[in-house]
Symmetry: C2
Subunit: 307 residues, 2 copies
């Protein structure tokens, strides 16, 4: 069977790029994968472990004759990359990305996209706390959602072709506007990461509690935050710089709600605490029912299931 | 070999109580386990699944002739329980607990403890997001820390006996003052839970983002918070009501730090964001090195390890 794309170019080969490379090979989605990465070490590693067929010294060379070009680097790099590759893009090609913000990506990339090239932003809601070309695996996207945010004049056939690509990688696909994407992700992903980074930082600054105590007793909840806060700093810096309005909006609501809990603690208002703590159980059950997490009691970390 | 305790009484048979019952049986730490739980359903279940040898209708009856009495119910119940069992406690017995706060427990329980009984508060830093008599497992305490907070006049021999009990359950044991315990746990456990409960609540209140969207796209980070926020509401209400000062202190620091990040986002200060995001990676590495979490990329949830 002919693969759906003759040549796919990956610009950036970290966790997502390397997982895509593995998924594309496993599902035979392309005849050839070309790759570019800014760092020499990543380029060498990607070639060494066979993630790509060819690694090119520039992004423009990597996208030559590619039917599908996927931006997989931190979103802060997209504008310059788009400008560089624009003259080399093949007419009729699909240009997409995997960035965690979408409106800013449209703003940065769209002005450079030549007519005849289908620019269709995308975002797979999948990842781990690890990064780099060796951290990827083909199953990363299985049963996860990929959000595609077509532009008003996007060719419906190209949109469907990109959606099929993600479905072949194991994802479910949803379509929405870039603006709505940014609002949804601000609460489901960006704010959780900001808060996790923040509490780890707060803990590191304490004088009365030593770092070794924070580490020793982390099983009480803290360690779960450090896992999220181990995610790639460059990627996350760019997320917050590029989804400012939605993050500030969600952060404002979070802080208001936290002030209400703070007040309840100060005044010994147990009923308020109990009510807030109870409603979150229902959301947890819904997430498990939707297949977006497992019910296994993970706090036991590898301990046997209850008998 | 004679077990170290002839009879152990568990007052409260939820996650911790049922895990202790299983660990005691596995390690042959007592000749008999008696139990009491406030709820009729829990009492019936504990007997049905063989967690205890005998279940008693009152706490006072359960502690009769016990050499070791362990309070395993939410900390808000300790004062009344201590008052009730005081006349029935065996001279020379050790009375301990598993509560997540310690200074308030001393304040609530100590006034009721008869002379000749060794009251030695304790707290195993272990748990899962599940609760109830069926959620326990013997290995819950393996390689976790148990903090013991002896009182100034605690009998060193009794303290050592209790420490040995926890070591036999698989724990490492540390000794500190109740006040220091409360400060350490405020940052490593109480504040993380408060924040997790809060963000889940914030998400549930949004108008522009539907609940089904929050659930569908939760793999971006939010689901990890819901796991923590699925913990027992009664237990956690009591924790916050009983460790007010330390939690408010840590919450104040957290909010200050969050305001600084908020400002960095508003003003596009990428360097500040990058610096904060980078330092947390080191703490994560230390927690893994200390054996308090695994390095497996859990965001993939059951996905194969990177190849």
């Amino acid at each position: 069977m002919t693969p759906p794309f003759n040549r796919v170019a990956l610009l950036g080969i970290g966790l997502i790029g390397s997982s895509l490379a593995r998924a594309m090979r496993q599902q035979k989605l392309t005849g050839e994968i070309t790759g570019y990465a800014r760092s020499e070490a990543t380029r060498a590693k990607a070639l060494e472990i066979g993630l790509v067929d060819r690694i090119l010294p520039t992004a423009a060379e990597a996208v030559k004759d590619a039917d599908l070009v996927i931006l997989c680097s931190p979103v802060g790099t997209y504008g310059a990359l788009a400008q560089e590759i624009a003259p080399a893009l093949k007419p009729g090609a699909i240009l997409t990305d995997v960035g965690s913000v979408k409106a800013a990506v449209v703003k940065d990339v769209l002005p450079h996209v030549p007519s005849g090239v289908n620019f269709i932003p995308g975002h797979p809601i999948a990842g781990t706390e690890q990064s780099g070309p060796e951290s990827g695996f083909a199953e990363l996207f299985t049963n996860r959602w990929c959000i595609i945010t077509p532009l008003p004049d996007s060719d419906p056939k190209a949109v469907e072709r990109l959606a099929d690509f993600w479905r072949c990688c194991g994802s479910n696909v949803d379509v929405m506007t870039p603006e709505h994407h940014d609002l949804v992700l601000a609460i489901t992903s960006h704010l959780p990461h900001l808060i996790a980074y923040n509490i780890v930082s707060t803990a590191a600054d304490l004088e009365e509690v030593t770092s070794s105590e924070v580490i020793k007793y982390s099983a009480g909840g803290f360690r779960d935050f450090t896992r999220i806060a181990a995610s790639d700093p460059t990627m996350w810096r760019d997320v917050f710089l590029n989804n400012k309005d939605a993050v500030l909006e969600m952060l404002g609501r979070f802080s208001e709600d936290l002030s209400a809990l703070q007040r309840a603690i100060r005044w010994g208002d147990g009923d308020t605490l109990f009510d807030v703590f109870t409603r979150s159980r229902q959301i947890r059950r819904s997430i498990i029912a939707a297949g977006q997490d497992t019910a296994a009691p993970d706090f036991g970390r590898g301990a046997p299931k209850p008998q």
